[in-house]
Symmetry: C2
Subunit: 152 residues, 2 copies
């Protein structure tokens, strides 16, 4: 019991680790939460990159954010593989899987290229790539993400 | 105008890039938004790692999530450097900066080590490190993060 109480902390991680002793297989809700973690990470990192690209935040972390974006993009397709409706995902994610997966793989490839650009050319050189990512986001969200009130 | 309307999309990135033509210097609100993007990323990636550690999500993306966690941790200290109160940060972040920065640097170092462990030993080998990160989160949040109603 002592070890358990140590683990009951404020970190999101712990709330997920503790049930390890109870749960063994993925549920639909788990699948939705997982892909939401991936997509929220993309969103937060896109926001950070946008701030750097616009000059309101110094570019010290530019390369790291580009790396995080690329790594997260590389995790996204697996996160959507379980055919579980729910969250913001439209059913078209799975009914149009060849297109969805093609877009997601292309996004992962383009963001990986962006890391190299950022390393070699800094924020000004990376700006076209960052704007291209934004357009990729928009195109994919328009087709595969439900718009809920109060959200962009 | 046409180019602007193309850029006004649903992606968080674009909402930040568009003001590039208007804003030139960081404001307090920018600094708060930026560190929130970093901390939310840590939270989402911790949640994803917790799901993998607990076995409810397959471990295919384990190494990528560990890399993302480590990279994000490496961006965090810079994000808190501006002495801007607000958001969930307690004033102690800056009044106790030597301790806060020491903890944040240690977290970055430990998560970087975790990448190697995950690569070499997989999810079972990485489990102690993941639980240790959760305790690091809790210890730092207890001292430096305000608890707001409805949040962990």
């Amino acid at each position: 019991m002592k070890r358990f109480s140590m683990l009951r902390c404020s970190c999101a991680l712990v709330f997920a680790v503790v049930p390890a002793l109870v749960l063994a297989s993925a549920s639909d809700q788990d699948a939705i939460h997982y892909r939401e973690a991936v997509m929220k990470t993309l969103n937060e990192q896109a926001a950070a990159l946008g701030q750097i690209a616009s000059g309101v935040i110094p570019a010290d972390n530019l390369v790291a954010h580009m790396q995080i974006l690329a790594l997260t993009a590389s995790t996204a397709l697996i996160a959507f593989k379980p055919k579980v409706a729910g969250g913001k995902a439209k059913p078209e994610v799975w009914s149009d899987w060849p297109d969805f997966s093609k877009r997601m793989m292309a996004f992962a490839q383009e963001t990986a290229k962006g890391v190299k650009i950022a390393k070699e050319q800094g924020v000004n050189g990376a700006l076209p790539a960052i704007i291209a990512y934004a357009n990729d986001c928009k195109a994919c969200h328009n087709m595969y993400r439900q718009n809920k009130k109060g959200e962009h």
